[in-house]
């Protein structure tokens, strides 16, 4: 029997960008699929604009932290995070980065860029950088960017989570879904 696939993803940014929120969405999406989940989050002082990092582990794990060199992917809401947290990536890993640059390979890591700040301005929703990046990452995975396994969930699965979580907050639900979609649609076709 083939062992169930596992996923280890680092998500980082600065306090106030909503790193915890998208970590939570990814974790809830795993729960909806019946997968075991572990996350570790940054709370407290760092949430005031300091570096915030989440670890997300899906599959049979005992602990909440990812070891350096073991992460499959990195979602960076600030470009500088690649230097800071790139060490978590395994060889052949991927990184989805908020920044303006073409697709690139650095060492063995594939780097996917999206200028989410610009996108956020375009949709006139300054607080939506996190969801734009999440949409972008999920859609990239769908297109096969991250290897055969992709990710365990699709933009659709995360939409479902958003619909449950923001059930009573109609306005936020709408804007969140819009941001997720904007990010997803930014994946270049080809």
């Amino acid at each position: 029997m083939k062992a169930a696939p596992t996923y280890q993803i680092v998500i980082s940014g600065v306090g106030g960008q909503g790193v915890l929120f998208i970590t939570r969405l990814l974790a809830e999406a795993a729960i909806l699929k019946g997968l075991p989940v572990f996350t570790s989050e940054t709370h407290g002082m760092a949430q005031r604009g300091g570096t915030v990092i989440s670890h997300l582990k899906i599959g049979d794990f005992a602990s909440p932290l990812i070891s350096p060199g073991k992460a499959d992917g990195l979602i960076a809401l600030k470009a500088e995070s690649l230097d800071q947290h790139g060490g978590y990536l395994k060889s052949g890993g991927w990184a989805v980065i908020n920044g303006h640059a073409p697709l690139a390979i650095k060492g063995t890591t594939s780097l996917y860029y999206l200028d989410a700040d610009q996108q956020a301005r375009e949709i006139d929703d300054p607080r939506s950088v996190n969801l734009i990046m999440l949409g972008f990452a999920l859609a990239s995975a769908r297109r096969g960017a991250f290897g055969h396994d992709g990710l365990y969930c699709s933009p659709h699965d995360v939409e479902a989570v958003l619909e449950i979580r923001l059930k009573r907050k109609n306005h936020r639900q709408k804007s969140s879904l819009r941001a997720l979609k904007a990010g997803a649609e930014s994946v270049p076709t080809a």
Binding site: V14, A46, S63, L65
Partner: protein
């Protein structure tokens, strides 16, 4: 009765809260502090809907929270108090005594540690406090186990009539895991205080008897089956063993498997680090030549293993004594211990971003005014978001809760015979003022300390996620409480100079602080209440004020004054520092910077 459900994603703190509710805790108290704050919030979220008789409260400080919950257990109820590790210092007085007197109903003390530290003044180990008090302590490795341990803790407490400590760490509190909610046992709220003055009000002579009984109790707890260490890999054979507790156990499980040592390295998880099971100590020392002990943060388990020659740990410097035990550190230690080689990539030592006050935070405006009013002062400060006044050089000292005021007094006494005395300005948040500032203010009035105290009154406990203060008149569960009026309290302490202002009114507020400084030079303590709600809290309530749109005009010559003295993240240097611009993604539209630029280059858009 609520039935058990299917897996849900729970934060460690939520899992602990769920454990309290499932186990019939009828009184839960706390003072907020990272990483423990979400425990009481989660109890409040579900507890009140289930049974209105449950008492759930934020107390004014940890000592008060402890004493309320302790009295509840004296009345025969199951109760709990939660706090962060340094909060336990504040509650240490009742803790030591409660250990002697013991309990009637079950009593669980949750003290969350912060190895790292990530958001604390120290890395102190609460298990050491349990050891000092002589009460048992349980050390969970995950949200799931934390929830389980609440139930074990209540039974332990009731079997031995002792307070029991549950000691999660940041990585347990703030991780999320799929956890299965269990059945909720109905509350038994039948207070039945059995008077027994020789115990509940024991004089020193009886305390000796209580201490004897306590020692005898501890010996039995060290033999308690329900908290026995767990041999994780009973098939493993070898002369070397590994012992761990808390989240280090979780890392060790993964590391031993990754190193393929699961069958060669016997590995034990200690659930109750103090008192360590007597039979376990004997077993370890009789069976193994070498034992590696992995625990956070102090060598509590290790200390209880008598034969030092066979133990590798913190005491002989094999395991680091400072900082978190991260998975990579544990992997390296295990590999070296087992004599196998492994490659561990290291992370770049990039500095990361330092935290800063939010764009539009009223504290920034207060600090700016303080620095204008007393430019060469000594600035004592305290614990909260406003500790970040550091970045503005408006905070010189931070010691512990409430110390801003007593330290200001100390500096005054140190300098009072000097010819030139520095102005002394203390800053303290509203919640911290209530918590531990009031006695210090009484003392300052009594000694006629010439200082200015600025109470940064943002109507909430912001740092820990906006818990109510005594002045907000809101309970943990949202009911209306009696408001404690801060002005009356300050006056009641005997303060004769008291002004209240809005720091957003930059020039008016600077003038107010200047008047306070002048008064303090000649007369005595002056207090200014800087009142403006936390913008994050306002946003949370959907009450954000209409933003004032600002822009930087061509008059900006890139002097950097606003960055140095005001440091709002909404103002960014562009064109290689030639100019400043407003970052619309970050700016909150508070409008305070309109009065900050000396060139008048910041204008309404």
């Amino acid at each position: 009765m609520k039935k058990a459900g299917k897996q849900v994603l729970m934060m460690g703190n939520e899992a602990i809260a769920r454990g309290l509710i499932e186990n019939g805790c009828s009184m839960a108290t706390a003072y907020p502090g990272t990483p423990a704050s979400e425990i009481l919030a989660a109890v409040a979220d579900t507890g009140k809907q289930l049974d209105a008789r449950m008492h759930i409260q934020w107390a004014v400080n940890e000592k008060v929270a402890f004493e309320i919950a302790y009295a509840g257990c004296q009345a025969g109820l199951r109760t709990a108090v939660s706090m962060k590790q340094v909060g336990l210092n504040v509650a240490s007085d009742p803790l030591m005594s409660a250990a002697y007197m013991g309990t009637a109903g079950g009593f669980v003390i949750i003290s969350a540690d912060d190895p790292g530290p990530h958001s604390s003044q120290t890395e102190q180990d609460s298990r050491m406090m349990a050891m000092m008090a002589k009460i048992p302590v349980l050390d969970p490795d995950s949200p799931r186990q934390a929830k389980e341990m609440v139930s074990i803790a209540y039974r332990l407490s009731e079997t031995f009539n002792t307070p029991v400590m549950l000691r999660p760490t940041t990585r347990v509190c703030h991780s999320r895991q799929d956890v299965r909610p269990g059945t909720i046992r109905p509350l038994e709220v039948k207070p039945d205080f059995k008077k027994d003055p020789s115990r509940w009000a024991a004089t020193p002579k009886f305390r000796y008897q209580l201490h004897l009984a306590l020692e005898e109790k501890l010996a039995r707890i060290a033999d308690h089956k329900a908290t026995d260490p767990i041999w994780q890999n009973p098939k493993a054979n070898g002369r070397r063993a590994v012992v761990s507790s808390g989240v280090a156990t979780a890392y060790t499980v993964e590391a031993i498997k990754a190193l393929q040592l699961w069958r060669d390295l016997p590995f034990y998880q200690v659930r109750q680090p103090f008192p360590l099971h007597t039979a376990f100590i004997r077993h370890l020392l009789e069976t193994y030549d070498d034992v590696l002990v992995l625990e956070e943060t102090t060598a509590i388990i290790e200390m209880q293993l008598a034969d030092r020659s066979r133990i590798k740990g913190k005491i002989n410097g094999v395991v680091p004594r400072v900082g978190e035990l991260l998975p990579e550190t544990i992997t390296a230690l295990l590999a070296a211990f087992a004599g196998v080689s492994t490659q561990i990539p290291s992370l770049a030592q990039a500095p990361g971003r330092r935290p800063t006050l939010c764009a539009g935070c009223p504290h920034r405006a207060s600090f700016y005014a303080i620095k204008r009013a007393a430019p060469r002062g000594i600035y004592t400060s305290d614990i909260g978001c406003y500790t970040l006044g550091l970045n503005l050089k408006a905070v010189d000292t931070v010691l512990c809760m409430g110390a801003a005021i007593s330290q200001a007094a100390g500096f005054y006494h140190a300098y009072k015979h000097e010819e030139k005395r520095p102005d002394i300005v203390a800053t303290i948040g509203d919640s911290t003022f209530f918590h531990a500032g009031v006695p210090a203010l009484i003392d300052a009035v009594n000694q006629n300390v010439r200082m200015v105290l600025v109470i940064l009154d943002n109507r909430t406990t912001a740092m820990t996620g906006s818990q109510p203060t005594p002045a907000t008149g809101k309970s943990a569960t949202g009911e209306t409480l009696v408001k404690v009026d801060m002005e009356t309290l300050v006056k009641g302490c005997g303060v004769n100079f008291l002004e209240i202002g809005d720091p957003y009114d930059t020039n008016g507020f600077i003038a107010m602080v200047k008047a306070a400084v002048a008064y303090s030079r000649s007369d005595g303590p002056a207090v200014v209440i800087a009142r403006h709600p936390c913008i994050i809290d306002l946003a949370r309530q959907g009450k954000t004020a209409d933003p004032i749109e600002v822009m930087v005009t061509g008059d900006c010559d890139g002097c950097g004054f606003c960055h140095q003295h005001f440091e709002c993240p909404g103002l960014v240097a562009v064109d290689d520092g030639q100019r400043t611009a407003v970052d619309a993604l970050v700016c909150n539209g508070c409008g305070v910077c309109l009065d900050v630029c000396p060139k008048g280059a910041i204008q309404r858009a």
